[in-house]
């Protein structure tokens, strides 16, 4: 499916893009590569941050969340806070990077399929 958008681009870019052949195809291809570039960078950043947190807390985010967000293991928070009293800050970060990673993977998968 295609949508018609009006976007201003520099004249020199327009001239170069037109010289490369099918203008529409070139623009689509350039946008695809741009999104994949940005996406790959963010995926890498998210994965690095997530790995650091998994290493620090010796578990996955899912396990961590199930232990702080429920009363299924009431000793966990007590022990956690002795070692990491500011865990909430890490938790927020961890959740954010997991969410962002999943969003980017989803976006990239759509683009790669298209």
């Amino acid at each position: 499916m295609e949508t018609l958008l009006k976007v201003a681009i520099k004249k020199e870019y327009k001239d170069i893009l037109e010289s490369l052949g099918d203008f529409q195809g070139v623009v689509n291809n350039a946008l695809r590569r741009y999104v994949l570039d940005i996406g790959s960078e963010r995926v890498e950043k998210c994965e690095i941050e997530i790995k650091k947190l998994e290493g620090k807390y010796h578990c996955s985010f899912k396990t961590f969340l199930s232990k702080v967000g429920t009363d299924k293991d009431i000793t966990f928070l007590q022990q956690l806070e002795e070692k990491y009293p500011m865990w909430e800050s890490d938790f927020n970060l961890w959740e954010t990077y997991i969410t962002e990673l999943n969003k980017w993977k989803e976006k990239m998968s759509i683009i790669l399929k298209g």
Partner: protein
């Protein structure tokens, strides 16, 4: 996302530089989808940690005041089951994983529900409540 961008960052940092000393930016990651800021600074003789994240899921925060590496007071909205229990009492199990704004007291020995806090609210609390709070510690 509620417009958290470089402009918001500048505004927030101006406020932080104005109110605190020895300000150090520990983490800054700003994209159109995510705003992440973590700052360490000093307020009077206390170490302060300010952590604010805004993403597509909403706003997440954790603010701490420390003395000699021990928490004097902390505010956050993590889904800590103890805060969920305080808010929903016997129905808390239906609200597992829900974010609940709350306050931790000295050495995290007590926990109270609070309103949602922004950096500005935290600074206001510091300026207006810290002195009285310290008397109760």
């Amino acid at each position: 996302m509620e417009g958290k961008d470089e402009y918001y960052f500048e505004r927030l940092m101006n406020l932080i530089y104005q109110k605190f000393e020895e300000v150090v930016i520990i983490r800054k990651d700003i994209t159109p989808q995510v705003f992440i800021l973590e700052v360490n600074c000093i307020y009077k003789s206390y170490r302060v940690v300010i952590s604010e994240i805004v993403d597509l899921m909403g706003r997440k925060y954790a603010f701490y005041i420390l003395k000699d590496n021990s928490i004097i007071v902390g505010f956050d909205n993590s889904p800590d089951y103890r805060a969920i229990k305080l808010k929903y009492e016997e129905y808390f199990k239906h609200h597992y994983y829900e974010r609940v704004p709350h306050q931790h007291t000295s050495k995290k020995k007590g926990i109270y529900l609070t309103k949602d806090m922004r950096v500005e609210d935290f600074i206001e609390w510091l300026e207006q409540e810290l002195e009285n709070y310290l008397k109760t510690c």
